[in-house]
């Protein structure tokens, strides 16, 4: 899962840099800071000058690959991968179901491994390769798991479906789809409130038994 290149050998420097940037803001005159700041922040900054202006500056660069495409973004450290995908990149296939790692609707692959994007800060994804549901099909040709979900009706409302499919693909890749029992356990991180579980299991078994590349 490592991408060495993305992480400079001595990143402790970043800390120093960040602190000094904040110090710079603190020490700079109101006038200087205001010149660099959009109007709303100036208005808002009335008597909390440091916090307000810092907020404007406190975006960080984020470079990550999403579905094969490199994205150069500027994000607040507090923005989660899920919200960045949905709100900044308009990749709304990844769903928000609980926002607390309790439902799996936000499941995406990071460097091929399934994770909950709602509990992942975007800034921690620097240099990583993200695959979302939008990146699973090969052009117009659906991924076998997508085909199997359609065939076995592995959903009703469809809201948990992208997360289920990303998880299902990972479940097979991890080698955790060797029995119905094992699939059920390893798909338990994805809640489906419509109750499509048996159909989801059938879809995964078909893909697994079909020996198709996932």
């Amino acid at each position: 899962m490592e991408n060495k290149e993305a992480y400079p050998a001595n990143d402790a420097a970043q800390d120093v840099k960040d602190s000094s940037r904040r110090n710079f803001i603190k020490q700079s005159t109101l006038l200087t800071a205001v010149a660099l700041t959009p109007g709303t922040a100036i208005k808002a900054a009335a008597d909390h000058i440091d916090e307000q202006i810092a907020a404007v500056f406190e975006k960080m660069p984020l470079k990550m690959q999403v579905n094969g495409k490199t994205q150069n973004l500027s994000v607040e450290p507090r923005a989660t991968l899920l919200d960045i995908l949905r709100e900044q990149l308009d990749l709304t296939g990844t769903k928000k179901g609980c926002d607390h790692g309790q439902c799996g609707a936000c499941t995406v692959h990071v460097d091929g491994h399934r994770i909950n994007s709602c509990l992942t800060l975007g800034v921690m994804m620097n240099g990583r390769k993200i695959t979302t549901i939008e990146g699973l099909a090969n052009g117009n040709q659906l991924h076998p798991m997508q085909e199997a979900f359609i065939k076995h009706d592995g959903f009703q409302c469809g809201y948990c479906t992208p997360g289920q499919i990303m998880s299902a693909v990972a479940c097979i890749r991890e080698g955790h789809a060797n029995s119905e029992h094992e699939i059920r356990e390893y798909m338990s991180g994805n809640i489906c409130r419509c109750g499509a579980y048996p159909n989801i299991v059938n879809a995964i078994q078909e893909v697994k038994d079909g020996g198709m590349a996932v």
Partner: protein
């Protein structure tokens, strides 16, 4: 969530330089911390991402390696990686079972060994910032004591706090006599795993004995002869992806039909993984029978106190101990 600074030190030394200051939190997998930040339970000014730390004593903090006397897990090893590791599966199946009983595959792909140890209680009063909670804000009272405490502690609680530690992994590590390797500015120290987490006492805000300016760097599990006869049994409200009502890590070394050595620890019952030393002693030298297991389970319950909603655990816990031991001994 409050805005914060995010820094990404690349060396342990650089990390140790930043942590420990007020308002600083360390992030590894983030599966609990980000949840807590979203709920406003914690609001750090600075987040120190330790996922990119380099080597410590020539070992990556992500590695799982053999030592002369056991197995060493780097603190940044992922829960999923540890649970699937061949050496872990072969030598400490109890740990693999416990890890697989926790959270979900996605969360295990994010959560680290050290982070798992550092996760905070799942007590609802701790999470709701409008409720009293001595752990979150000392002096505000314990909401759970007279409230909804079905998930709460029956052992080692104080008037201040009856929360439980939610980890499964830690229950197995407590049973397996692991040692925690801790790095600080003054160097490394070691702590028996059973002494890492603490009871709430008068300071429920402190979950463990790690100083603010220290980092967990690894866990060492000594070699043992429990691999043949160990079992992790977790009782919960659904079959997966739920915290334990009660869980039991049971490990037996059986020789010629006699228990030579026993290890037992429980989860979901105390502020820390609850090791059952008396029951272990009682089992030693005995035959692995259901009667002996039930007796040990009864012994293990000495000192347990129910608080209403969780009083059922006074019955569930010994039943679970017996069941786990039966599984470990191959009686089921």
């Amino acid at each position: 969530m409050k805005q914060f600074q995010y820094v990404r030190p690349a060396t342990l030394k650089a990390a140790l330089d930043v942590i420990g200051k007020p308002g600083v939190k360390v992030i590894a997998g983030g599966t609990n911390l980000i949840d807590l930040m979203k709920r406003g339970v914690t609001a750090p000014d600075k987040l120190v991402d330790i996922n990119h730390l380099g080597l410590v004593d020539h070992q990556s903090l992500k590695d799982i390696t053999e030592t002369k006397t056991g197995l060493y897990l780097g603190s940044l090893a992922l829960n999923s990686v540890v649970s699937e590791n061949n050496m872990v599966a072969k030598r400490h199946p109890l740990l693999a079972m416990a890890l697989k009983a926790g959270a979900s595959p996605q969360l295990r792909n994010m959560a680290t060994v050290g982070g798992n140890m550092m996760q905070r209680t799942r007590c609802g009063y701790f999470y709701d910032t409008t409720m009293p909670c001595n752990k979150r804000v000392p002096g505000t009272g314990c909401g759970a004591m007279e409230g909804i405490n079905r998930m709460h502690a029956i052992f080692g609680a104080s008037q201040q706090c009856i929360a439980v530690h939610p980890s499964d992994m830690c229950v197995a590590l407590a049973a397996l006599d692991a040692t925690v390797h801790i790095a600080g500015k003054k160097g490394e120290r070691k702590l028996p795993f059973t002494q890492f987490h603490r009871l709430p006492g008068e300071h429920p805000d402190l979950d463990n004995n790690l100083a603010k300016d220290e980092l967990i760097v690894g866990i060492e599990i000594p070699d043992n002869n429990f691999a043949q006869n160990s079992y992790y049994l977790k009782i919960r409200d659904r079959q997966s992806y739920a915290f334990a009502l009660v869980s039991v890590a049971a490990a037996l070394e059986i020789e010629n039909g006699i228990i030579k050595n026993a290890r037992l620890a429980m989860g979901g019952v105390a502020h820390k993984p609850w090791r059952l030393f008396d029951a272990e002693k009682a089992l030693t030298g005995k035959q692995p029978t259901e009667e002996n297991f039930a007796q040990a389970a009864t012994l293990a319950m000495q000192g347990a106190i129910g608080h209403g909603g969780n009083s059922f655990k006074l019955k569930l816990a010994p039943a679970t101990i017996t069941e786990a031991l039966k599984h470990a001994a191959g009686l089921v």
